[in-house]
Subunit: 394 residues, 2 copies
């Protein structure tokens, strides 16, 4: 079964060293386009506008936490890192372009509301990342220590009593609860008109409930092991496709007051979100830690039930399959054995199938976007975002 | 230093075997009144109305989680236990009586909104209890297994892979995030008029932020050890007094549209909330597990920095103080040594001082209520609630 580990390395290289695929360009979906000057999350300045709004939001939260006095600094630092650290702001981009798809103006009060709703989703995302790192025991996030690791470090430096890791987990969880709770307030403070507030808050609630439910499915499946295709796709639909693409677009529509495109944009969002997750799975298995910010093979060690793994189990020879089943979900899966498993995922054809499936889902999403026929700028941006979200480099 | 453990047992008995002190009665604050027919949380049927609204809310959430399919039952069962399990519904009672204090009618649409806002606070409380149990590593809640313990048990029974305790903590945290997120939705779904929604949601946000901040102070102080009086009182103000009494009352005022009493009710709420925490500290140190639902001495083992402990450090002889400092915050603090420490807390006069302080704060709260002069039914109810919240039996 031992395959030359060079195969896995080759797959890693192909996946991470390609030219940025997420830039706006008229190139075909299956081919990496040349790098043009602007990333799709930056179209109409969305990323910068979101970052500005998030910074002012964090400022207001700092004032609200003044009562913590001398104990405030570590929590405020973690808050800033969680919200204002580097991020693609992909979900706010979908909120904004959902708003523009429904005919919203690029500037003025409506646009500010869309940016505000985007911030709400970004706060939920900061919560999700903070809590996921606690649940997965991930030590790093975007190449820096995860929040729970920072607080465990504080505990050690100060030589406090008790278990530093437990303390780190506790404070990171409190931070997650704060971030999640502020999402609603981001919408309220953005000034969403009172009569539209119940609908917008209802969507935010749905987005959060679905994301948490999807994460629950993911956690259960990783522990139970060997999931079926329907199960895996269900988790992906809720923890990723609805959370990352569909509900943000719906939020944008609700802000613009235009529900007409709701179904049509779902038809674009759901295949795109699934393709986004498949790309994430490939990066999780083969991605360079310097790019993904996560250590090699973490998803495989955790036993994450991905579509990639599911296909590999179907396609692999019995001996290879047995090796995969004995290795996935094992905390010791590192070094040569990890390389061997990665090589098997390539060798059996699962990686190639995954790439084909991404391309197919991408095409499906674009066809749905064609049918939805939003105004030209939204159509161009949603096309570029689809390429970006499913591309090898993002 | 060894005192007869009978002293601690005696204190426990005094604290837990007295006749219910929380019943409505004209008796003096410092004396247990005879038991009358109705508990103050049941006045005007508030507890039952809240329980009914919570049950219908959980029903709607069940439908929303249908997508979890065969994985739904364990999460739904934990959700029901967290929200619909036995509870005093003290915070919803303060919301309701804040509403009545501002002149709200006991029945009709306004009252339903107050009950809905009470449910929101109760959902946040269910989140707090679920997450606190994870943070403290408490195995039981109200005498039953805590949520994280139930999920760890599921993991073991199903013989899943990985660490059962880690799985239990992860799922309990997800449950906490769900509960917290649903608070806003409880207010929206109750039908709070659009023009009042921003204020009500703002108060809910403040309540949550203060409670989480207070809990953060509490966690830090327990690990750092030996806190000063100002520090301890700050944590108590935010994690208890504002969270349990002041903000619920303010929510009720906002529902009734009457901000006139805001300051006056704060003057009632803050001393009362502090007294409530002092009673909780006494129950935490001396309370019967059968009544408190928590094992003997848990607060002392965790090193919780309470006012009781602070006074004991001031009042105790050097040898006794040294024994206290060497024992508090130690996971091995059980059995005879625990009895010894409890006896010292009594012997040095800290328990008696705590009782005197509770009586003083109670009197302060009632004087403020007098000055606020709300309508007679609200005044009677808030008096009874104050007695209930600070009484030896609740």
């Amino acid at each position: 079964v031992a395959l030359p580990p060079v195969r896995a390395s080759k797959a890693r290289e192909d996946l991470t060293s390609a030219a940025p695929a997420g830039r706006v360009a008229p190139a075909a979906a299956t081919q990496d386009p040349p790098a043009p000057p602007i990333s799709p999350v930056d179209l109409e300045g969305v990323r910068e506008r979101v970052d500005r709004a998030l910074a002012s939001l964090v400022e207001r939260r700092r004032d609200q936490l003044d009562f913590l006095e001398e104990d405030a600094p570590p929590l405020l630092a973690a808050l800033s890192q969680a919200v204002l650290g580097p991020g693609k702001r992909l979900r706010p981009a979908f909120v904004y372009w959902g708003y523009r798809a429904a005919g919203g103006e690029p500037h003025g009060p409506g646009a500010e509301l869309a940016i505000g709703a985007g911030c709400a989703v970004e706060l939920l995302h900061a919560c999700a990342l903070t809590c996921d790192d606690v649940m997965d025991g991930s030590r790093t996030r975007r190449g820096r220590p995860a929040a729970h690791v920072r607080f465990a470090g504080l505990h050690r430096r100060e030589r406090w009593s008790g278990d530093p890791e437990g303390f780190g987990r506790s404070v990171a969880t409190l931070l997650g609860l704060l971030l999640s709770g502020w999402a609603e307030q981001a919408v309220v403070e953005a000034g969403v008109p009172a009569e539209r507030l119940p609908e917008v808050l209802g969507l935010l609630d749905l987005l959060r409930t679905e994301a948490i439910g999807g994460q629950y499915l993911d956690v259960v499946q990783a522990r139970r092991g060997v999931a079926g295709e329907a199960e895996v796709r269900r988790a992906v639909t809720f923890k990723t496709a609805k959370y990352t693409v569909e509900r943000p677009l719906h939020l944008g529509l609700a802000i613009a007051g235009g529900g007409r495109l709701r179904e049509a944009l779902s038809a674009y969002a759901l295949p795109l979100g699934e393709a986004f997750q498949l790309r994430d799975d490939l990066l999780g298995a083969f991605g360079d830690p310097a790019v993904t910010g996560k250590p090699f093979g973490q998803d495989l060690r955790e036993g994450k039930q991905t579509w990639l793994l599911l296909r590999a189990r179907r396609l692999a020879e019995p001996a290879a399959r047995e090796l995969i089943d004995r290795s996935v979900g094992q905390p010791w899966l590192r070094g040569e054995r990890l390389d061997e498993v990665c090589a098997l995922l390539v060798e059996c054809g699962a990686l190639a199938e995954c790439e084909r499936r991404i391309a197919g889902l991408f095409a499906e999403a674009l066809a749905a976007l064609d049918a939805a026929a939003p105004p030209a700028p939204a159509r161009a941006a949603l096309t570029a975002l689809a390429r970006y979200a499913t591309g090898r480099w993002r």
